[in-house]
Symmetry: C2
Subunit: 113 residues, 2 copies
DNA sequence: AGTAGATACAACTAGCTAGTTGTGTTAGTG
DNA sequence: CACTAACACAACTAGCTAGTTGTATCTACT
């Protein structure tokens, strides 16, 4: 039971918002989703997302900066992997919320039938 | 155990990112944090956040659009309240991640001493 | 040393959006 | 019926950033 202060101090609000901002980009979600299968090089992530090398690299640097992924140099390659498993929990929770909304809409549709 | 498809289809990736985007704004986090104490009018939320009435109203409309809050008209007032409790779980998880990062840094600092 | 491949860095542009200003709209009140 | 209070809507602006283009760095290999 990790309790969070309330009301949230401004600094923490800022931190939380920043964290969410990092996850608010489809490309970064895709990268993290691919990394779920284990570490990958930039080229592999490029393949998985269909984005340009520069773009992949740029997004990875953001994820790295915020500690969501880790970088390991392997010879000429750079292997990226998930560094913070809580991102999956976050995605699960979001999906749960989406699912509930969907069910609500379905309920309304069926109720009107 | 609500499992999420993998790899995530593009549409779902987009939905998830949008959801995170909604939460990526400090003002909206503040509003939700205030609503944790129960429903509130626009004026009360304005008081709690220090923002302008128009700005509060605008952010509330975003939260409403994405189903995170609900609006109830009460005479001349509009009472907003949390409609999706999963936001708190999200914030808790984020805070947990932040806490872990902080501990890591502390470990490093102590290790160097 | 020279070359090729893998990755990172930097500058630029286009699109999005938070906040403001100004103005409706609706509901109570005398 | 004015008048006021509470809220929402619309237009505008400034700042941020995703993606691209161009280039640099770094490593392995011959």
């Amino acid at each position: 039971m990790t309790s969070v202060p309330h009301p949230l101090p401004d600094d923490l609000v800022e931190l939380i918002a920043r964290r969410f901002r990092v996850l608010s980009e489809p490309m970064r979600i895709k990268l993290l989703d691919r990394l779920r299968d284990g570490g990958a090089t930039v080229a592999e992530l490029q393949e998985a997302t269909g984005a340009s090398q520069q773009n992949v690299s740029k997004h990875l640097s953001v994820l790295l900066q915020f500690g969501l992924v880790a970088r390991r140099k392997e010879g000429n390659f750079a292997r990226y992997e998930i560094a913070d498993d809580s991102v999956f929990e976050l995605c699960e929770t979001v999906c749960g919320g989406l699912r509930r909304q969907l069910e609500e809409i379905e309920m309304l549709l069926e109720g009107g039938r």
